[in-house]
């Protein structure tokens, strides 16, 4: 999937009830226990199987061990290995999961650098139900292709 930034204002919003899916899996990569919990619960509400990782290295190691996920929510600023480095490593490994960057309010240059690491999308925190619905709709479309 090619990198393609999207802002929440340009999304086609659909109802969350339309995208409840029991076949999709997600990895939440964030050093904040709060954000890990929030995204975990949020994604589980949509029927996804969710795993969490506290930094980019843990995420990369999971993939090295043979794990696979349909969706990766990748925080940008993390200790040990940040989101930019982790995304580059995953893409270099041949990982084709949808990787979505999640950032605090960054300058456009910083988001661009994150996108260029290999993200499919990049959004500011917090991820709203509308954004999650959009991502799941895109995942469902991709899985049908």
């Amino acid at each position: 999937m090619s990198g393609n930034g999207a802002s929440s204002s340009s999304l086609n919003m659909i109802s969350g009830e339309d995208v409840v899916n029991n076949n999709l899996s997600a990895l939440v990569v964030d050093d904040s226990p709060l954000l890990r919990l929030l995204h975990d619960i949020h994604l589980k509400k949509y029927g996804l199987k969710v795993q969490v990782a506290e930094n980019g290295k843990v995420a990369v190691d999971l993939f090295h061990l043979g794990a696979s996920f349909d969706l990766v929510l990748m925080d940008k600023e993390m200790p040990v290995m940040n989101g930019v480095e982790a995304t580059k490593e995953l893409r270099a490994m041949g990982v084709t999961s949808m990787i979505v960057g999640v950032t605090s309010k960054d300058g456009p240059g910083e988001q661009q650098a994150f996108m260029e690491a290999g993200l499919d999308y990049c959004f500011e925190k917090p991820l709203t139900p509308e954004i999650i619905s959009f991502l799941l709709e895109e995942l469902n479309k991709h899985n049908k292709d």
Partner: protein, 156 residues
């Protein structure tokens, strides 16, 4: 069956929430949080908010410690702490704290120590106010449930 005690407490909860929204302390992201609470995760909101308190207090302590260093030069680390606080505050709907973080980051980006210290004072004050109000909210909510009311999401 709801007693008048539960109804009165529900009105108190709604009044406090309306105050917090009107004053710009909270935004609609807090409502999103409430929507995620259900029978399978009945304490979700208080669980998330308590984690937010723990994380925020650690970040605020670290920020004060960094800014009090005699030869302050690690503005990059200060920026990272501010970003973390901004992200978690946005995620629970702590609008005012988040907005102060934006001002804090502007001062940090300019390597303005005096400005950073001034904003940190405001941030610590606003955070304490938020924490007190959320504790009050949870207390009333707990009393309401004990009085026979149902938990979130609130029914008007």
């Amino acid at each position: 069956m709801l007693g008048s005690g539960a109804d009165r407490l529900r009105a108190d909860v709604n009044r406090l929430l309306a105050f917090l929204f009107h004053q710009g302390i909270l935004d609609e992201q807090f409502l999103q949080l409430q929507q995620l609470q259900d029978e399978s995760s009945p304490n979700f909101v208080s669980q998330v908010v308590n984690i937010y308190f723990q994380e925020s207090e650690k970040l605020l302590r670290n920020l004060r410690s960094l800014l009090m260093e005699r030869k302050l030069s690690d503005y990059k680390n200060i920026g990272i702490h501010i970003n973390q606080l901004m992200g978690s505050s946005s995620s629970i709907g702590a609008k005012r704290v988040r907005n102060v973080c934006v001002a804090f980051r502007a001062a940090s980006d300019q390597n303005n120590r005096t400005g950073c210290l001034r904003v940190l004072e405001v941030l610590e004050h606003d955070y304490c106010f938020l924490k007190n109000k959320l504790h009050e909210l949870f207390q009333i909510e707990q009393q309401r449930i004990l009085a026979g009311g149902v938990g979130y999401p609130m029914q008007n």
